[in-house]
Symmetry: C2
Subunit: 544 residues, 2 copies
């Protein structure tokens, strides 16, 4: 297999460092890869100065010469795979049709096996455990590329992928591709604190966009961007929107297809890159119906029907390569794989590859080998069946927590607004609204928006002109919950800090927020937790 490398014209020189040379100053004859990237030149200005200056390591240049017929290579710096002290790996894996929601006691297993040499499996340990290209092993990339095409129907044909070490790593790489010191970043009004812990030290300031029960509000986004030049200059106009569009963390909200289209159109108009961090995508849940018990739906037999029942991704809406999708198996298979996939245009992909080569390289070979063979063993339909089973489990858990709230509080299902349904303390004749919530339509979180207007302690704080009365009230209330031995996550954790202390960021007047996760706690414990919470609410609202 001798590739057409002209060995007489390649100098033994490192590729010239591309420092300070604009990427579009390409040579007159473009390679196929360069021609593909040139199609996305309209997005090149989004690449930050660090990323612009990255150059490939010259060592990569030499790889193509290794493949010349009859070549004896003394050029590679690899350990010999015969010295990897492993013969084979067998992973006892659940049958993909297992309905975990039924809490089965006897689960059928399939053997997921990878051997040292390629022997009837999708990959081999000699390859997977060796140093390799940034995109790891080819059969895993091929499988995932097909799945992404099939599951999401990306809106343009030239999308590419790069492996990452899970979506936290993916977002760190994307932030370091796009963001500069002094940039403003569009985010949801309540946003993931670990993301902030990344961008704040980079000198990036969050611009929070108001949310309601359906996630971030397109009209608010449009208003902020349309009026930017008139109202916010000389602050730099945002170039990036970071969002969790499905089962958002912390609010659990999910953007509708219509909102996604509206947001996409606004982002085209204002030249915004959308980063779609979407770990809960396949955990889109059927609508919650008050009252139980809830029967399990019939098992999913049609993979296509399951996939098309999902709200389309931003990637599906994308026409010009401005969506960067973070694809992960952390919530659907296991977080420990630390293997994900960034889906983006070829221009961004190439720059991310240069950043990946000098840092993480490819993800763990064990993770890759097991994931690769797992997906080949289950197959496309099996994987979708497993996803459907996961969704079913979270639907059941979502029903548990909503049922518990209905049991221990007085929920007025008829009184629903953009913040959700009205909830009162039980047996108090609906004297005072205590919170609103939306039964989650995706993910693993339920979000309480507390109404403090009627709360005596809050009214005292306001009367005394206490600073940040909502935060002070929430801190005290959270301590009462802890004393009652029920732990919620304070909503203040999700405030975009905007580079200042969280305490300096104004709260929503008259409101406080708490996040409840329904993903892990067993049913009895979950119900007991909600019962304790209801007691604290009742005691607190009737205190003097």
């Amino acid at each position: 297999m001798a590739p057409s490398v002209d060995i007489r014209t390649h100098a033994a020189q490192p590729a010239p460092a591309k420092t300070h040379v604009p990427l579009k100053a390409a040579p007159p004859t473009l390679s196929p890869e360069e021609a593909l990237r040139a199609k996305f030149a309209h997005l090149e200005h989004h690449i930050n100065s660090l990323s612009r200056q990255r150059a490939p390591s010259p060592l990569k240049d030499i790889l193509k010469f290794m493949r010349i017929d009859g070549m004896i290579s003394l050029a590679g710096g690899l350990p010999h795979p015969s010295l990897f002290p492993f013969d084979s790996i067998h992973v006892s894996t659940y049958d993909s049709a297992t309905r975990m929601a039924e809490n089965p006691t006897d689960i059928a297993k399939v053997d997921v096996c990878v051997e040292k040499d390629l022997a009837g499996h999708s990959t081999d340990l000699s390859t997977a455990l060796q140093y390799g290209p940034y995109n790891g092993i080819q059969p895993l990339m091929n499988w995932m590329a097909k799945f992404i095409e099939h599951a999401y129907h990306p809106g343009y044909p030239d999308w590419q992928m790069i492996m990452d070490g899970g979506s936290t790593d993916g977002w760190a790489k994307v932030a370091n591709l796009l963001l500069e010191d002094g940039d403003n970043l569009l985010v949801e009004a309540h946003t993931y604190p670990s993301g902030q812990a990344l961008w704040i030290p980079m000198g990036v300031t969050a611009v929070p966009i108001e949310m309601d029960m359906d996630g971030l509000v397109p009209e608010v986004l449009a208003r902020i961007l349309d009026s930017w030049d008139a109202e916010r200059l000389p602050q730099r106009k945002p170039k990036v929107l970071y969002c969790v569009p499905v089962g958002q963390n912390p609010t659990g909200s999910t953007l509708t297809a219509e909102r996604k289209q509206q947001i996409y159109d606004i982002c085209v108009r204002h030249d915004i890159v959308i980063v779609e961090d979407d770990p809960y995508y396949f955990m889109q849940l059927p609508t919650y119906r008050p009252g139980g018990p809830h029967a399990l739906p019939p098992p999913v037999t049609d993979a296509d029907a399951f996939l098309t029942s999902m709200v389309p991704t931003f990637l599906h809406h994308d026409r010009d390569g401005r969506v960067i999708r973070l694809e992960t198996v952390s919530k659907t298979v296991a977080p420990g794989f630390r293997t994900g996939f960034i889906v983006c245009n070829p221009l961004f992909q190439e720059r991310l590859a240069r950043a990946t080569e000098v840092a993480t390289q490819a993800p763990s070979g064990w993770s890759q080998a097991i994931l690769c063979e797992l997906l080949h063993t289950w197959g496309h339909d099996g994987y979708v069946r497993w996803l459907a089973g996961i969704r079913e489990t979270y639907a059941m858990r979502r029903d548990w927590i909503c049922d518990s709230i209905a049991t221990h509080f007085d929920v007025d299902w008829e009184d629903a607004n953009a913040d959700g349904v009205a909830v009162y303390n039980k047996d108090q004749n609906r004297a005072a609204l205590v919170f609103r919530f939306v039964p989650p339509a995706a993910g693993m979180f339920l979000w309480l928006k507390l109404d403090l207007e009627a709360h005596p302690a809050y009214r005292r704080l306001c009367a005394a002109r206490a600073p940040a009365p909502e935060d002070a009230w929430a801190a005290a209330f959270w301590r009462e919950l802890v004393v009652a031995r029920v732990l919620l996550t304070p909503g203040t954790y999700y405030k975009p800090w905007q580079g200042a202390k969280a305490a300096d960021v104004p709260a929503a007047p008259g409101h406080a927020f708490f996040r409840l996760a329904f993903s892990t706690t067993p049913r009895d414990e979950l119900d007991e937790g909600i019962r304790r919470m209801a007691e604290v609410f009742r005691a607190s609202w009737t205190s003097v």
Copy 2:
């Protein structure tokens, strides 16, 4: 198990962002961790501005409340481990006593097994595959900490570790901890290109330090630093030395214990942090003896004797926490683990932890589980036995390549200088020295330093005042090698580019370099490669 957390005094507030607050402005009462870090305050100014501004995510704060007795937590955002579709993993692993150098046909295997729940093994899949702290699973950290103490005897007691995704990732994290745009970085005169591909876009300039057969030369390092203020200001004086002290890539050179002590003392005097990237440490080879065949030494039975036979690490010389050691299993077990350990002082460790949480998090759970159980199954002595076996294999391969050079060239073993022994083309009566080399004392690389003085084409280039005649000559010679179907790595790849194009960096006058890897090529092929190389040398030196 109720830890002593005073639940009445902890506010439900994010930890205040530490932006712009110097790290040493610690509160008057220090926690034990803070007190430990305060012992290394003399190194605090080494932390760069990005790293200085990192703050913990508030979500980490809540973890301690989860452990309160009787607490029902709805605060975690974790998937339920019962939904990880795996029951157990079995890895068929080589017995640690296997002598791979004997090319055994029948290798004894041990079963390395991890089950979903903790059941007689060192760890379990429910933990390893879950989201976890940045330092992954505790038994692996414990094992490795003991090994590091035992193998290296670090020079001070308070060293700590943080997991990384292999040493490329480790170096990227360390560079982002210490280096700023505009910094100068001390490196070996020939250095690893992927490292450069990281630091050049960061605006860091390499200051190459001359090397000889024993690696970088302390006197040169001292001279450059002593004269910096007089000769190089306003260029910023370097604060960091990056080096590969054993089996250096590309030169294969190894620092002696004496040189390490000298270098360490110079670095103390000039307040330099030493980054010890040391993947080849356990591949320290017995001295090559010309002439064969070479018998295998008796197997290593005494683990301590093996460990103490190694040249001590920089970490061992370290008294004040200025050495950062990158520990890896990539060359001794398999690169695919993508799991390594940064050993450093607690002050640096805490800052690296903040950077890790928002990017890679812990390494792959599969990698961790398999490595953890492998190390517990083999045990300390077994692991050392495996390391000794790896060393033996590379010693054998080193002997192969040196024997081949002796066969196909005319080596004058008596004529050795700081660049190694003198080598001539065969049957040419030692008319012209063609290169010198040092039989490698460690690692997987052999480095040729070519002598071009007598080469007709080189003399013509010089006479014509061609620009960079050494590089032009080397590029042409490399192409001749490729035509003869033998691939070496050009020495030009390892030039510290210093932010400019490699071609702009002056070569060593009258010399060219090539790197030969002896780690992978089978013996026959290796010998044939050297034979082809010898033919190209002979033809080239006698051309007109």
